[in-house]
């Protein structure tokens, strides 16, 4: 066989590939021949060392590539029995949770197509009584790092007792859902919750950005650097702990605690009864309904500033209690060098 024959065979065998991949590979083999010949090897020696085209094609797993092309790497698993608790370990998968229309549980996932990459990621499910466990796994256990991107979509019955969703780098999205207890953990995936009714919502993140819109239930958030946006919250309590994340809040919380190091905050809470802000250098803007309610605010800060409404109030002294509104509300300020503005 000559170089020309070999390359022709190869070209035909690689026909299932993306044209760009094919061209690049053909150029690689041509280069291999050119260098080999320039080093005095014969075409036959080079062909022998490259290996038979059939073997190469086998290593490509073309059958699998073809199935990938036909989009058959969509999977669906359905559970007909009653599920009350769902625990998801998504790792790098992007997890989306929405309400199921037929009260059954469906798990859909699509492994992103790759050109020469293999399908190494899979999803396993296990049911224990009313609890469903869903975990993203890697078929190639030896090398866990070699993973495909994956989208994991769960259609779950509304009114679950508990939903736990963990990811490392995968994003988490929950839309139009009802659950008693929601527990979210993520390292770097972003967390978006839209239109959710719950009793208690707990979020632990590291660098995740957190976006909540139209969320009902008590909220507890702990994160390091992600920003936190909560809009149209309906619930009595909201506790937020973050190091450098900025916080934006708009809702009905009566009790609110905020602990930050450097994150800034803008809080609109007209039903507030007790607000506790502890920050080292964060600046906080509050929008409160001063006329109607009796409330107490404690603002403890090193160099952060506080403004309530737009009027100015300047009190750089420590431990000062100010009475505002109709006299039933109290603001406690503790600061080393912060500025305060109070309407």
């Amino acid at each position: 066989m000559t170089q020309k024959d070999y390359l022709k065979q190869l070209e035909e065998a690689l026909d299932a590939l993306d044209p760009q991949d094919k061209d690049e590979l053909m150029a690689d083999f041509k280069e291999h021949f050119d260098i080999g010949l320039s080093e005095g090897k014969s075409e036959k020696d080079i062909i022998d060392s490259l290996g038979p085209v059939d073997d190469l094609v086998q290593s490509l797993d073309l059958k699998r590539l073809e199935t990938q092309r036909q989009d058959t790497h969509d999977f669906r698993k359905t559970f007909n029995t009653k599920i009350e608790r769902v625990i998801i370990d998504g790792v790098h998968a992007n997890v989306t949770i929405i309400a199921s229309q037929d009260d059954q549980t469906h798990i859909d996932y699509e492994v992103s197509k790759r050109i020469l990459g293999k399908l190494s990621t899979d999803v396993t499910t296990r049911q224990e009584g009313n609890t469903l466990l869903v975990a993203v796994t890697n078929a190639n256990r030896l090398f866990w790092h070699n993973v495909d991107p994956i989208d994991l979509n769960l259609l779950l019955p509304k009114n679950l007792i508990e939903l736990v969703c963990k990811t490392a780098s995968g994003d988490i999205r929950i839309d139009d859902f009802v659950v008693e207890h929601l527990d979210i953990h993520s390292m770097s995936g972003d967390i978006g919750v839209d239109d959710l009714k719950a009793k208690a919502i707990k979020v632990v993140g590291v660098s995740s950005d957190i976006d909540f819109t139209k969320v009902t239930g008590d909220i507890q958030i702990k994160t390091v650097s992600g920003d936190i946006n909560i809009f149209e919250h309906v619930g009595d309590a909201c506790n937020i702990e973050t190091v450098s994340g900025d916080i934006e809040y708009d809702g009905t919380a009566k009790q609110m605690r905020v602990n930050t190091t450097s994150g800034d905050g803008s809080l609109k809470a007209s039903d507030i009864e007790a607000l506790n802000i502890n920050t080292v250098s964060g600046d906080y803007e509050l929008e409160l309904d001063i006329a109607n309610k009796g409330f107490s605010i404690a603002f403890i800060s090193n160099s952060g500033s506080l403004s309530i409404g737009d009027a100015e109030y300047d009190t750089p002294r420590h431990n000062q209690t100010i009475t505002i509104g109709d006299g039933t509300s109290k603001v406690n300020l503790k600061s080393i060098s912060g500025d305060f503005e109070i309407e």
Binding site: D21, E24, L25, A27, D28, F29, E31, H32, D34, I35, G36, S38, S49, L50, G51, P52, V53, D55, L56, S59, L60, R114, I115, L116, G117, N140, L142, F143, W144, H145, N146
Partner: protein, 101 residues
């Protein structure tokens, strides 16, 4: 050696070689085939996949006497990945070693 098994290990060998020095394909296939019997052609497919996954980058170098050479270079991501693979591998052979001794 089992073919499936060899494939995973081959990836580690290629990455480890590139971690030592940036090389062109031909050079790399020579180094690898000196140590293990492997069809050089599969290495090009492997390299293409590693490039897809952004573990390696390529650049062309013109040569005076012969054809231009496509050099392969590890990315930062590729270097991290190589380290992870290497640890995985070393753990694995230790486990096997304990079991077969």
């Amino acid at each position: 050696m089992n073919a499936q098994f060899k494939k995973g290990v081959l990836e580690l060998c290629v990455l480890a070689q590139l971690a030592k020095a940036e090389q062109y394909g031909y050079e790399l296939t020579e180094t690898i085939s000196q140590e293990m019997s492997v069809a050089s052609g599969t290495l090009y497919l492997l390299l293409r996949r590693l490039k897809d996954e952004q573990y390696v980058e390529t650049y062309l170098v013109e040569t005076a006497e012969g054809p231009a050479r496509k050099y392969y270079k590890l990315t930062t991501k590729g270097l991290d990945y190589t380290q992870a693979l290497k640890h995985g591998w070393l753990d694995f052979i230790q486990q096997v070693d304990r079991l077969i001794q």
